[in-house]
Symmetry: C2
Subunit: 340 residues, 2 copies
DNA sequence: CATAATTGCGTTAGCACTAACGTAATTGCT
DNA sequence: AGCAATTACGTTAGTGCTAACGCAATTATG
């Protein structure tokens, strides 16, 4: 699903979808069993069932909704003959809600259905259901203790205050080269042997043959990296570009890319190419914007299994060229190139 | 929170609440950062941002909503100047949505905010956020493969078809006595030494002193148990009553209780009491309905740490007595007793 | 090629909920 | 006691979504 790829950014939408799924599933079950009840009624009725007559606000507080919602729902329940509304004798403002005998009968008969729901959830979701419940409870607690909006604002303030710099490789940063690249490699692909070698000993495999490595540093943190490999005299490959997942969208990738291209020019390189994978759409779009042009076929004798995209740096060409070749190979990528 | 106590039964409501929390938190952040965007717009805009111009239904499919929702949202986005609507030249039915330049600018500037959101979620929810994402993904997958409503109906059919019987103890069932009791004991309390002893060797601690044990069997499964302890000549204690959490609501508890009381009468017992805890509201209500009366103080020299409720069986008394004593000790329990 | 079925979209009515307001009752303060 | 503040609730307007319908365009079928 597309939404899952957005991860933390689409929490709300996905949770809503899940919520609706459960509501409609419950209604389907109630209908199927001939129960005269709707899923939305459940929290209120069950609370009254367990706790006896209570006021509107107490119910609202307990089930985490506004008093208005409970008040309106009560109208419906009264109309359905499930709930009785009474003024409280002690406090005239209060409206005391109590189940009718009909409701008590209905709810009593609902025992097996609730039981089936619990068991159905277990059989349908298995351990994942338990995990979801546990995670929800943990998140509800965490959000009460550390409100999300405030936490985000703190991060935002820190982000915009911190300077974003590009710094060259130095031995003390070797582990970051590994960390930043293994993150995305292990997420979408797998670490190939050639990766492991290069990431573990960049001095030998990148610098010594005449290449360069850059890091993006935000404040004190290293959030991205990029390597310019020297394949042969004047021929360079852009590779090992990785930005920490939680720091994407800051422009670090583009800054690294521009720096690497700058270095390629500074060394008076003649040919610059890269290999990538069609999954990495945002990266591909960035390469195009920077002047790389998608080639009709993958590179002959590629070092990587995951490589299904081959691009060559043609600064003068712009993004207009290569359309036909692209269209043949990848409808989706074409659309992107037209758009950008 | 009350809803969490309902576990699987209130999935929908809790997920909705969480969903709304994330939506409003996101809106708060966007407002706080001065971004001209609303949280509900995000899935559509982001999809167009990543995939270029697409049709209404494609967007709807991708973000898991109806075409109507996307169509109406598009109205708003067009009014806000973020999206352009165009008829498709190739297929006149289709309405192609594309981001305006303004939207592209806005979204481009949103990078740091999205980044902050990801980091804020991490700092606010920590590992729980990851756990929630993982659980959601797993549940979405599981629900596609095994629809919930169908699974529940299957369980329901099996439940109503299976006969519920009460059977006396026999050595082969010893482990079930332990299993069924340790489940609720470990959930709300903790296993005390006296529990462990009695549950491990019921023949010595229950049967030999003159007590009895019963099991509730549903179809082939043992789903509940209950013990009648003989304290001294004619004095019995009802104890170790437990029904599997996933099988509650079927009336097994009541059947077990009635059987135990029947056995108490059959043995011409003179005094029957029980000790329990005020947390166990549904159990307490059942005891009252069966003829137990709440006592004003806990029992002198109780064996259990968790015992804060003491009830004596007075079959003639009904549920009307003991109100005053109750009211003094426990406002909540009082309400229940008035109600039932 | 005519007709039926399907597809894609917009519109409307309706639902569940919230925010905001108004009203009545109660509590707090001097 | 008198007045303000608070509390409890109902009502209204509005939001975000779905279901259901209708229309137009496209595709399938005899």
């Amino acid at each position: 699903m597309y939404l899952s790829s957005l991860a933390e950014l689409a929490f709300g939408s996905r949770l809503k979808a899940l919520s609706d799924y459960f509501y409609t599933a419950a209604d389907e079950v109630y209908r199927g069993c001939g129960a005269q009840i709707e899923s939305r009624w459940f929290p209120v009725l069950r609370y009254l069932w367990e706790n006896g007559p209570t006021t509107v606000s107490e119910v609202a507080m307990a089930i985490g909704q506004t008093h208005s919602a409970v008040s309106q729902l009560t109208d419906k329940l009264v109309r359905a003959g499930m709930v009785r509304r009474r003024r409280d004798a002690e406090d005239g403002r209060r409206s005391v809600l109590a189940l009718t005998d009909k409701a008590r009968d209905s709810l009593g008969a609902l025992g097996p259905i609730w039981c089936s729901i619990r068991r159905g959830v277990a059989s349908s979701l298995g351990a994942e259901g338990k995990a979801l419940l546990a995670a929800m409870a943990a998140c509800e607690k965490a959000l009460q203790e550390r409100p999300l909006a405030a936490a985000v604002m703190v991060e935002h303030a820190a982000l915009v205050a911190a300077p974003l710099e590009i710094v060259p490789y130095e031995p003390a940063l070797r582990e970051h080269f590994y960390r930043l690249n293994s993150q995305w490699l292990e997420r979408d692909f797998k670490l190939e042997d050639i990766d492991r070698a290069m990431l573990s000993d960049p001095e030998r495999y990148v610098l010594q043959p005449g290449g360069a490595i850059f890091f993006a540093r935000l404040g004190g943190e290293l959030i991205g990296t990029c390597a310019l490999l020297c394949e042969s005299a004047g021929v360079y490959e852009l590779s090992k570009m990785g930005v920490d997942e939680t720091f994407r969208g800051l422009g670090a990738g583009r800054r690294l890319l521009d720096t690497a291209i700058g270095e390629f020019h500074r060394r008076q390189g003649e040919h610059l190419f890269l290999e990538s994978n069609s999954k990495l759409k945002t990266a591909l779009r960035m390469y195009e914007q920077a002047g790389f042009v998608l080639q009709p076929a993958t590179r002959l004798g590629s070092h990587y299994e995951r490589a299904d995209v081959y691009m060559i740096y043609q600064p003068g060409a712009g993004a207009a060229r290569g359309k036909k070749a692209v269209r043949k190979r990848q409808a989706r990528a074409t659309r992107t190139s037209q758009e950008v």
